[in-house]
């Protein structure tokens, strides 16, 4: 069963049910909090998981080219 079947967009009527983005992040943070400064340094999000915008842009460009 996919996460998104239950966790959709954030709905103020059901605050006990986290949205999909929050549900994913909570899963990550259960183990990775403290690893590579995740949760300690705001820049760490781009170190371990997320690409920076310019990296994303270059990745998209490479995808188009190849």
């Amino acid at each position: 069963m996919a996460c998104k079947n239950c966790h959709g967009a954030l709905d103020p009527a059901t605050p006990q049910m986290p949205g999909l983005k929050v549900a994913y992040h909570r899963q990550c943070f259960q183990c990775h909090w403290g690893m590579a400064d995740v949760g300690v340094n705001p820049k760490s999000c781009t170190v371990m998981c997320h690409d920076k915008r310019d990296q994303k842009a270059s990745a998209k460009a490479n995808k188009v080219l190849y």
Partner: protein
């Protein structure tokens, strides 16, 4: 011509008639007794009226005060801030900055050097995130986002003499810059020291504080900060539902949370609610805040102020007039007695 009409030569006042009969000079003792009697009666009447009005004003003041009690709309929104989930990413600061079209920050949002000093909300930032040491695990520092708590009975709105603040039915406490004349009473009144004054703009006074994204919340949309929060540390919803969520989390994880929802009762309750794993004073929360709204401290007194301004001048004016009249009469009598002795 009507026969009932008095003749022009007929004296209207019996006292003047008496004076006329006694000759040009009035009987001083008789007038003195008459004036004394009148004065006593006058004083008694004034005291009775004053006492009755005083009692009435106090009674009506209590009624007025109790009638204006406001515990907030039951359907109002709020934000539950779970401090144990905050990772200090400052996404909320960035989202707030963009939503309210504020000036670019001096320190970029992804620069951790900003945590080296403790900040407070200012003109250029309606919300700030500060870092605190974690007594349980030093490797995982604690973070706290600071912004207006949007009290159920806001002290800032009570203190504002021009009604620049307004508590909306949806929950946010809004501020109208067009009405503000810069007295800064709101800054003194706020128990959380949130409103910030724009000292760079002396001619156009301006207070800045979190708007709780009033333009979004009134349409049922979450605040920008709670929408962007990646870990769900900020949860937007109806305040009454959020209290249930908070209680459930505390009940299910008694080792993780302390048994206290900050904002449920503080200063009469706030739209922002907090749960934490360490005592709230560790984060710098003011923990000496009374449970009753700040308004309760002044409501009884302030409700009598308009009555004092209307009744007291009249009462004391009458007393002054009476004493002046008496002193004038006594001076006149003494003068006449001196004349007679001569």
């Amino acid at each position: 011509m009507d026969k009932n009409l008095k003749k022009p030569s007929e004296p209207a006042d019996p006292l003047s008639e008496q004076r006329g009969k006694a000759g040009d000079k009035p009987d001083a003792d008789a007038i003195g007794d008459s004036l004394n009697f009148t004065r006593r009666r006058f004083m008694g009447t004034v005291a009775a009226i004053g006492g009755a009005l005083g009692v009435a004003s106090l009674t009506s003041g209590v009624k007025t005060a109790s009638a204006k009690e406001f515990s907030g709309s039951s359907d109002r929104y709020g934000v539950l801030y779970d401090l144990t989930m905050c990772v200090g990413c400052r996404s909320c600061e960035k989202a707030c900055n963009e939503e309210n079209k504020l000036a670019a920050p001096k320190v970029p949002f992804d620069d951790p050097s900003v945590f080296e000093e403790t900040r407070r909300p200012m003109v250029e930032s309606y919300t700030v995130v500060n870092r605190y040491p974690n007594p349980k695990d030093p490797s995982k520092p604690l973070y706290r986002k600071i912004q207006c708590n949007h009290c159920n009975e806001p002290a800032c709105a009570t203190a504002c003499p021009v009604h620049a603040y307004n508590k909306t039915a949806e929950g946010p406490v809004t501020y109208d810059v067009n009405l503000c004349f810069g007295c800064r009473y709101c800054m003194v009144a706020c128990p959380y020291y949130v409103p910030a004054y724009d000292y760079n703009s002396a001619l156009e006074p301006r207070i800045s504080k979190c708007t709780m994204c009033d333009h979004r919340v009134k349409h049922g949309r979450p605040t920008a900060c709670s929408e962007i929060c990646p870990t769900g540390a900020l949860t937007f919803g109806k305040r009454i539902d959020l209290i249930k969520v908070a209680r459930e989390r505390i009940m299910k994880n008694p080792d993780k949370y302390i048994d206290h929802i900050f904002g449920e009762h503080e200063a009469g309750g706030t739209s922002w609610l907090y749960i934490s794993g360490v005592p709230f004073e560790h984060y710098g929360f003011p923990t000496n805040i009374q449970k009753a709204p700040m308004l309760e401290n002044t409501k009884g007194f302030l409700s009598t102020v308009p009555l004092v301004f209307t009744i007291w001048p009249a009462l004391f004016g009458m007393l002054y007039a009476a004493t002046q009249h008496r002193s004038r009469s006594e001076n006149g009598t003494d003068h006449e007695k001196t004349e007679e002795k001569k």
